[in-house]
């Protein structure tokens, strides 16, 4: 099944690299500690790299949204309200014990249904709520001296600063769970190979 067109694979590759750079540099700044020998990494360098990666990420994010609208990939992200809870529940149960009892995937991957309900929810959350807010809060901090931003006073920065940290943390959490869940396929490496070749191996193989 050809599920991942080239543009998604390219976007995803760039996105993953940037996010990892952002997490590492972000954490280096967040947990910097003058008294801790392990946490003495170059702060100024991290700050610069974080800025550059963030700007490229913003562009790639816009490309992702535009690409989804243009190519119709967005149809995979549509959640039906009716089955939202029962669907995610089923999937969760599968991950928690179903898969250990060798049960079948409740939502097998098909050309019309690339994501299981849990993926749908998490991809929507990350791409359409967390990422835009994260980018916005980052922009506010990057352009601190813009007039429109100054009007709101220092409170805005403190608010966005903390918001940014929380959201960045949520992205890190997503990343860990996401990568781990991607090892749950026909074989642990199947989904990763799929995202490289574009073709998803089917369950039966």
């Amino acid at each position: 099944m050809y599920l991942y067109p080239l543009w998604i694979r390219l976007w995803h590759f760039v996105n993953a690299i940037l996010i990892m750079i952002l997490i590492i540099t972000g954490a280096a700044m967040q947990f910097a500690d003058a008294d801790h020998p392990l946490l003495t990494a170059g702060f100024a360098g991290s700050a610069r790299l974080h800025d550059v990666a963030a700007i490229i990420l913003t562009i790639s994010y816009i490309a992702f949204v535009a690409g989804n609208i243009v190519t119709g990939n967005s149809k995979y992200y549509r959640i039906s309200k009716k089955n939202l809870f029962s669907g995610t529940g089923k999937q969760l149960k599968y991950f928690l014990y179903g898969m250990f009892r060798k049960e079948k995937q409740p939502f097998p991957v098909t050309m019309d249904n690339k994501f299981n309900p849990l993926e749908k929810v998490s991809y929507n959350l990350i791409m359409y709520i967390i990422m835009p807010l994260l980018i916005l809060s980052g922009i506010i901090m990057l352009f601190q001296d813009l007039k429109v931003i100054i009007v709101f006073g220092t409170g805005l920065f403190i608010f966005t600063d903390i918001l940014h940290i929380i959201l960045g943390f949520l992205v890190s959490v997503f990343l860990i769970i996401h990568v781990y869940c991607c090892t749950i396929g026909p074989k642990p490496g199947s989904l990763f190979r799929g995202l490289i070749s574009g073709y998803q191996e089917s369950e039966e193989q």
Partner: protein, 324 residues
């Protein structure tokens, strides 16, 4: 949910206390400056008439001629600045000889010794908080003291005709930063003035600070002295300006949650009001310092959450291996 809809706006509002940053003292200070009328206004005017202008003109009574000339730039003063300064209540002749009232000024007065700060403020009870003697000791260690022979003294930074305390009176931290930095830039960004004291080549500040990310934001929000002086806890403002190589280049000095390692600007506590139990007083000072707003609870929640997820994943992997 009800609780959340009630507490969430409160939580958010908690971050916008800008109005309460106003140091009460500031209002009084401003009011004082606006309403201030010097008892020596008329006497002082005899001096300002010429010394507040680029060109001066007077009748030389011995020669009977009208004299017109350009005022030496170093002798031009500003009325506005003087009457807003800490010395606004003085008469010119409190510090300068009353013989200056004759024109042209007698030649020998040009060599009139000037007071220095300690002449009045040394041992002065009213300014004891500033510890002028300690400031003097620190200044003597500073790189600027090397220029003493070239005529560098306290006045190069604290012009007695215009200097005003800004730090503790300011409502807006950025205004204070601007004021204080303009003192340094008076020489360090004005090569003509700089040349009077030093024969070093021109230093391009933006180039010298190239390593510093977000240069313009730093220059607007941090005083030069925060990184270029050695903190002395006994005095309010450090005066030991260190050699260039010794300047702080460690971002963590400010960008961590540890107020103790912070420079003097950040450890000032203008008021305890509105303390929101963050790691330090930065927020109260109306500055936002990324990293310094760190909240220990948040850090801990993040770390615990991470540990939790890793454990769940670990257990999941274990089951996958067992059940294979």
């Amino acid at each position: 949910m009800r609780y959340l809809s009630f507490s969430l706006p409160l939580l958010i509002l908690n971050f916008f206390p800008s109005a309460s940053y106003a140091f009460e003292k500031n209002e009084a200070f401003l009011q004082d400056t606006i309403l201030f009328v010097s008892p020596y206004k008329e006497d002082n005017e005899l001096c300002f008439k010429c010394h507040a202008e680029k060109k001066y003109e007077y009748m030389n009574e011995t020669s009977g001629k009208q004299v017109k000339a350009a005022m030496h730039p170093g002798d031009i003063l500003s009325r506005d600045k003087f009457y807003a300064s800490n010395h606004k209540g003085f008469s010119c002749t409190d510090c300068h000889s009353s013989q200056f009232q004759s024109f042209p000024h007698p030649e020998e007065l040009k060599k009139e010794p000037h007071f220095n700060c300690l002449d009045c403020h040394g041992g002065d009870a009213a300014s004891a908080v500033f510890k002028f003697e300690e400031i003097d000791r620190e200044f003597r260690k500073s790189v600027h003291f090397r220029l003493e022979e070239q005529g560098f003294n306290c006045w190069e930074c604290h012009d007695p005709h215009s200097y005003r305390l800004s730090f503790r009176n300011s409502k807006d931290m950025k205004e204070t930063v601007l004021y204080d930095n303009s003192i340094c830039l008076g020489c360090h960004a004005d090569y003509d003035r700089f040349k009077q004291f030093s024969d070093r080549g021109k230093i391009k500040l933006s180039k010298a600070h190239k390593w510093l990310p977000h240069q313009s934001i730093h220059f607007e929000s941090v005083r030069c002295i925060e990184c270029h002086t050695k903190v002395n806890e006994n005095i309010l403002v450090p005066h030991y300006v260190m050699p260039e190589e010794a300047a702080v280049r460690d971002c963590r000095k400010c960008h961590t949650g540890n107020a103790d390692t912070m420079t003097s600007l950040l450890t000032i506590k203008p008021t305890d009001k509105g303390n929101r139990k963050f790691d330090n007083t930065v927020i109260i000072n109306g500055l936002n310092i990324i990293g310094a707003n760190r909240n220990k609870y948040l850090d801990n929640i993040i770390l615990i959450f991470f540990a939790g997820i890793m454990t769940i994943i670990g257990v999941h992997i274990l089951f996958r291996v067992i059940r294979k």
